[in-house]
């Protein structure tokens, strides 16, 4: 078998069990998904050719409504974290001409190649930013309350619903927060270098919220 280098991520200490990936409480669970792929895509959403090329390649439309996302499987559910050949992807709106494509583990190169091919000759920008992010998943009846402790976003269910995402700050850290189901489950994409701080903040804030 050919040797494949192993990824070592910023949250190794969590996963090695030196810090429990909890608090393991029905009110709030914190999961760490360090292996997804991330592509930053920019282009003109007013250009039909661009939109169609992306949709044809990814099998799902780019979200053109601000602060929403589209998922290729169940609506609002980021692909299963375990590596699988059928791993799907999620597209987050980042700005009026900018999106973040989250792929299954190790799928970013293939997706970038496909997208690059179908967009060749068109005005666009496609950058692999996999090395820079980590996905944290916060789930449970208290999850909203825990986020609200450190975030100025209006997280009330009437203002922030399944299918919505927002780039904001939590405990002074820039991140993208998305609600993926009504448990509620929130997916949080944070810069790799801030991931340990953000995960620890959620860990201890969650413990205090119970």
């Amino acid at each position: 078998m050919p040797h494949r280098p192993q990824r070592r991520h910023a949250l190794a200490s969590f996963l090695n069990g030196r810090i429990a990936p909890g608090p393991d409480h029905p009110g709030m669970q914190l999961e760490i998904h360090p292996d997804h792929g991330y592509l930053n895509l920019r282009g003109d959403p007013g250009d039909e050719q661009f939109l169609q090329a992306v949709q044809a390649t990814l099998g799902q439309p780019l979200p053109t409504i601000a602060n929403t996302f589209t998922a290729s499987t169940q609506r609002g559910r980021i692909s299963n974290p375990s590596p699988s050949p059928t791993s799907s992807h999620t597209i987050f709106w980042l700005g009026p001409d900018e999106w973040l494509l989250v792929t299954g583990p190790g799928k970013e190169n293939g997706k970038a190649e496909q997208l690059g091919k179908s967009l060749s000759g068109q005005c666009h920008s496609l950058v692999d930013v996999t090395g820079g992010q980590i996905l944290l998943r916060l789930r449970g009846s208290q999850a909203r309350k825990v986020l609200a402790k450190g975030c100025t976003l209006d997280l009330h269910p009437r203002a922030f619903k399944v299918g919505q995402c927002a780039q904001t700050t939590l405990a002074k850290t820039s991140m993208l927060i998305a609600q993926v189901d009504n448990t509620p489950t929130f997916d949080i994409i944070v810069r790799r270098s801030f991931a340990e701080y953000a995960a620890l903040w959620l860990h201890y804030s969650g413990a205090g919220a119970m």
Partner: protein, 83 residues
């Protein structure tokens, strides 16, 4: 704390934004043709308005877009739907 209305994301807390100073200052097309006084005026001089002020903001921790808002520098009230 100000509640600032990003044209893309809607109302968000001031802590997500950075201030970009007075709006509508156009860079001279031919800087070489300017006197030192004119260049310094472009670079450094601002109106320091008391009252309605058009100013630039960037949604730094959000969509990262620049936009212009009108704000009363006395009351800190933003003008709704200013162009």
């Amino acid at each position: 704390m100000l509640l600032i209305k990003c044209p893309w994301c809607g109302p968000r807390d001031e802590s997500e934004f950075s201030y970009g100073g007075e709006a509508d200052i156009v860079r001279p097309a031919e800087p070489d043709a300017l006197t030192d006084e004119e260049w310094a005026d472009y670079l450094f001089m601002r109106s320091n308005t008391r009252g309605l002020h058009r100013e630039q903001w960037v949604h730094e921790h959000g969509c990262r877009r620049w936009f212009v808002l009108e704000r009363d520098t006395v009351t800190y009230q933003f003008t709704e739907n200013a162009t």
